[in-house]
């Protein structure tokens, strides 16, 4: 079972990042008075994204197996997850933080 979990470590990091970013954003916008939440949301999303990308980089550099199939799948999943994490994190630079459209 640990082997199977190692295989999907990349997407697990993506899921954790998604949960943290979405949770932190929703909670901070809900509890902080308007005008004060934006900076903390941006910071939380930024830190979470950097941490996730760093984890993925480390995971990608140490695939944990020499078996070609498992190594390749692990690596490709890590790359896809990194793209998805970056894609998600970058939104905080573009979109207004706590206002509804």
């Amino acid at each position: 079972m640990p082997l199977l979990i190692r295989l999907v470590l990349g997407p697990i990091v993506w899921a954790a990042h998604f949960a943290v970013v979405y949770g932190a954003h929703t909670a901070l916008c809900a509890i902080r008075p308007p005008g004060t939440a934006e900076a903390s949301v941006a910071m939380a999303v930024g830190i979470a994204t950097l941490a996730a990308l760093l984890t993925l980089l480390l995971a990608g550099m140490t695939p944990g197996t020499a078996v070609r199939f498992r190594r390749d799948v692990t690596l490709l999943l890590t790359v896809l997850s990194a793209i998805a994490v970056a894609w998600l994190g970058i939104t905080v630079l573009i979109v207004p933080v706590c206002t509804s459209p």
Binding site: L4, V8, V67, R70, A84, W87, L88, I94, V97, P101
Partner: protein, 844 residues
């Protein structure tokens, strides 16, 4: 694991004379009315697919009725109320009674054949799931005939579905009737996960697994994490309707958007739950028709896994217009685009395989349906990227554009591959293949009919026609696209009708021609009721192409387990990654207990729907008793000793602990319970962000004193510790060993007491569940843990009975091990709940 086949085949010729007769006798399908007890995957698999297809036709007929009503403006063919029932039952039936069951059915039928296993590891569990689904599904569908059908749309949004706005029992038929069919889906998922990971043939390491097995593995894992969210939502809405706990009522701190979050946390992955197995089927058919291995096998595996994960980050894209902050929408928009990448990988892989083939890609009926799928699904995917763009979605939301989009994705992505599957795999289970000549007509009628029906809906939607309207004014320009759609729907229906005729003319149960498509995978080995005569050693992804003589050698019994050394049903269990043989699993055969368990479970839920409470509870008790009778016949112990399977390998016939299939199934079940609990934790925190004013705070009189959670936590820890001691105690010598079952019981009583203490603490603090959303969430959390610990209590009583009957000892101990596993899980869940419910408000 060695990569090459053994130099000498595992078993010598000639085989003993009566070996095949013995297999035929052991695996024989019961006859007459005893057929109801059958569990063999090919028998119940066909029945399962047949039922799913029946629901497809029934729901399709409802679709035709709707199209007839919408053919012209100001039509009065159907009443508005009936129309509301029609679209609700159409959507619900298509999603819950057709699409998911059809895919599970294909898993049940095809997986053991593709993996050359004699059956899936828990045959009665599959049969239970099927019977529960058949009974529940038929009763649910029949409500449309009695004006009792739900009217809230397939997603049943509150507040429309709360008692005030949907009085009567109709909404409850959805909540209880469909809710328990989810249980059936989860039972099937447990079976499929353990089956794919543990019953592969020796040598079939993960990199040699057929893509369909990969896709079913991801499919089942997604069910484990997605379905609990909708089960929780269903529970909450039913509890609110019945007892007034205000989860969704804004006036008391609830929020109807919570339903949408939970529903779509299930509902979006659901789309991929349906699509991934279909993609897996396509990945099996394309290489056969191109006569070349799949291009980019590893990329497809990556795409399946990535889709499985990313699809959980999309749910809010169904909620773009609900007023959620723009940045959140952007997160989900980004994930919606990210998921398009792995889907694109698969499409390019299929096209590359077609191009790479030796000679021309064979154009058969299955290939036509695959090509149709590629076209339609790609169009649906493109409109999907359009609606993933927030500003465009604001325009298209709740219009016929969305109706067009999801029919392109679902019919293109699931129904067309399913028809390809029918034509491709029919010779595996029918004496005659389906007609290629009819097949082409079926395809073209369906393909043309589909596009004529659904393409104009894009236009109607862009013209502003909203979804779910029962009629529209005749003079605003919507008549033409609607009339075209209706004509198309009847062309599509004609295609399906022709298929049914073909099926009636040619489909006959039995053995068909061997490998008519010259495919490379194991389901085309010669087989009978016992599956394959012997279980092959696999050294490649397409064994029938790469290992010459395999079919003959397997059929002659020269590979593993050509006989039945334990005298009963059995198959080989292999390790999950490398598929090294580990032990021989002894499987149950036909029986009544699982059948009655399904009947009574269905009866219990359906009687609750119409509020006949006492008979419902009686049926619930009978269902539990049936389950106990069923499991009493399992856990056969190591009595048969190690048995030879060939090549000098002798395997044990019994296994406990983390390598046993029982342990794996239990872990999957715990993941289901954990997903349910996580959904509850999300709901608790979510409602707090919506209504902090109804929440207890640190100095609130509504929060019990610290002594209550401390006592509850201590009881949980005590139960955990006692289970550890009880487990060790099974190894003690008599009479000291008798302490072990007593400790098991005390442990489960501790866990039960912990839950009672938790509930009682809140009650004495003056909190009542109907007071506020906060109170409702607190009591719901305790209820969820209560469910687990009551199950542990029943299981520990069962373990004691086994001990008393001499069927439980230090070696033969599955009944205890499973009780302990669930007990530890329940204690862990309880402790997490205590920290959240008592700790979080003290931080406020």
């Amino acid at each position: 694991m060695n990569e090459s086949p053994p130099a000498d085949l595992p078993n010598p010729l000639p085989r003993p004379a009566r070996e095949r007769e013995e297999l035929l006798r052991i695996w024989a399908t019961p006859r007459g009315w005893r057929r109801l007890t059958a569990v063999n995957n090919t028998v119940i698999g066909i029945f399962y697919i047949g039922m799913a297809f029946l629901f497809f036709i029934l729901a399709g007929l409802l679709g035709l009725l709707m199209r007839a009503q919408l053919a012209a403006g100001d039509s009065t063919l159907l009443s508005q109320d009936l129309y509301n029932q029609l679209f609700t039952v159409h959507g619900t039936t298509m999603m819950f009674l057709f699409a998911v069951p059809a895919m599970e059915a294909l898993g049940v039928m095809l997986l053991p054949q593709m993996l050359a296993a004699r059956d899936l590891p828990f045959p009665r569990l599959s049969a239970f799931a099927i019977w529960a689904y058949v009974i529940g599904g038929l009763v649910f569908f029949s409500t449309i005939f009695y004006d009792l059908a739900p009217r809230g749309g397939w997603f049943m949004y509150p507040p429309l579905t709360l008692t005030e706005f949907s009085p009567g029992d109709s909404a409850d038929f959805w909540l209880l009737g469909i809710g328990f069919i989810e249980i059936s889906a989860i039972a099937g998922a447990v079976e499929i996960i353990v089956g794919v990971l543990r019953t592969r043939p020796p040598g079939m390491s993960l990199d040699k697994m057929p893509i369909f097995a990969w896709s079913m593995l991801i499919f089942a894992a997604m069910i484990v994490f997605a379905f609990p969210a909708v089960i929780l939502a269903t529970m909450m809405l039913e509890i609110e309707r019945s007892f007034g706990w205000p989860f969704f009522t804004a006036a008391r701190g609830g929020d109807s958007l919570l339903w949408q979050h939970l529903f779509w946390f299930f509902g979006h992955p659901e789309v991929y739950i349906i699509f991934l197995p279909a993609a897996g089927l396509v990945s099996m058919i394309v290489p056969t028709m191109a006569r070349t291995p799949l291009v980019g096998y590893r990329l497809i595996v990556v795409a399946l896994i990535a889709t499985g994960f990313f699809s959980f980050g999309l749910w809010v894209h169904h909620m773009f217009t609900t007023g959620i902050p723009a940045l959140s929408l952007a997160f989900f928009s980004a994930a919606s685009m990210a998921v398009a990448v792995p889907s694109g990988i698969q499409v390019f892989s299929w096209i590359a395989t077609m191009a790479a083939g030796r000679g021309r890609f064979r154009i058969t009926t299955p290939s036509l349906f695959v090509l149709g799928f590629l076209f339609i699904f790609t169009v649906g995917g493109l409109t999907g990227v359009m609606v993933a763009v927030v500003p465009f979605d604001f325009q298209a939301h709740d219009t016929y554009f969305v109706v067009a989009h999801f029919h392109y994705v679902l019919i293109g992505g699931m129904v067309f591959p399913l028809f390809a599957t029918f034509y491709y795999w029919a010779p595996m289970v029918s004496r005659r293949a389906l007609s290629e000549r009819f097949g082409r007509w079926v395809f073209w009628l369906m393909f043309v009919g589909f596009n004529v029906t659904f393409f104009p809906m894009h236009i109607a939607g862009l013209m502003g026609m909203p979804r779910r309207v029962w009629t529209y004014p005749a003079d605003i320009g919507w008549d033409l696209p609607n009339l075209v759609s209706t004509i198309g729907a009847f062309i599509l229906a004609a295609g399906v009708l022709l298929f049914v005729i073909d099926l009636g003319l040619r489909f006959r149960r039995g053995k068909g021609p061997d490998n008519p498509w010259q495919a490379g995978t194991l389901e085309w080995l010669p087989n009978d009721v016992y599956s394959t005569r012997s279980i092959p050693h696999v050294t490649s992804r397409e064994p029938l192409w790469e290992q010459p003589g395999l079919a003959r050698d397997v059929e002659q019994g020269r590979y593993y387990l050509p006989n039945a050394p334990t005298g009963g049903r059995e198959t080989i269990v292999t390790s999950p990654v490398d598929a090294t043989p580990e032990y021989v699993i002894r499987m149950p055969g036909p029986g009544w207990a699982h059948f009655f368990a399904a009947v009574f479970t269905a009866a219990c839920f359906l009687l609750l729907t119409v509020k006949v409470v006492v008979p419902a509870i009686a049926c619930g008790v009978l269902a539990v008793l049936s389950c106990l009778v069923w499991v009493w016949q399992l856990d056969l112990g190591p009595g048969k000793g190690p048995v030879p399977i060939g090549a000098g390998i002798s395997l044990p016939t019994y296994r406990t602990g983390p390598t046993s299939h029982s342990w794996w199934a239990m872990v999957v079940l715990m993941l289901v319970a954990a997903s349910l609990y996580l959904a509850w934790m999300f709901s608790y925190l979510y409602l707090w962000t919506v209504s902090p004013e109804v929440w207890a705070t640190g100095d609130s009189p509504l929060l019990p004193g610290v002594e209550w959670p401390v006592l509850s936590g201590a009881l949980l820890l005590a139960g955990t510790g006692l289970l550890v001691v009880a487990g060790r105690g099974l190894a003690w010598t008599r009479p000291l060993r008798h302490v072990s079952p007593a400790l098991t019981l005390i442990a489960s009583l501790c866990l039960t007491a912990a839950t009672i203490v938790e509930i009682f603490g809140h009650w004495t603090a003056g909190l009542r569940p109907a007071d506020s959303a906060y109170a409702a969430m607190v009591y719901l959390g305790a209820t969820l843990t209560g469910q687990v610990v009551i199950t542990v209590l029943i299981m520990s009583l069962f373990a004691i009975a086994r001990y008393a009957a001499g069927k439980l000892d230090n070696v033969r101990r599955l009944a205890f091990d499973n009780t302990a596993l669930l007990g530890w899980y329940g204690a862990g869940q309880g402790l997490v709940g205590l920290v959240l419910v008592h700790g979080f408000p003290r931080l406020l």
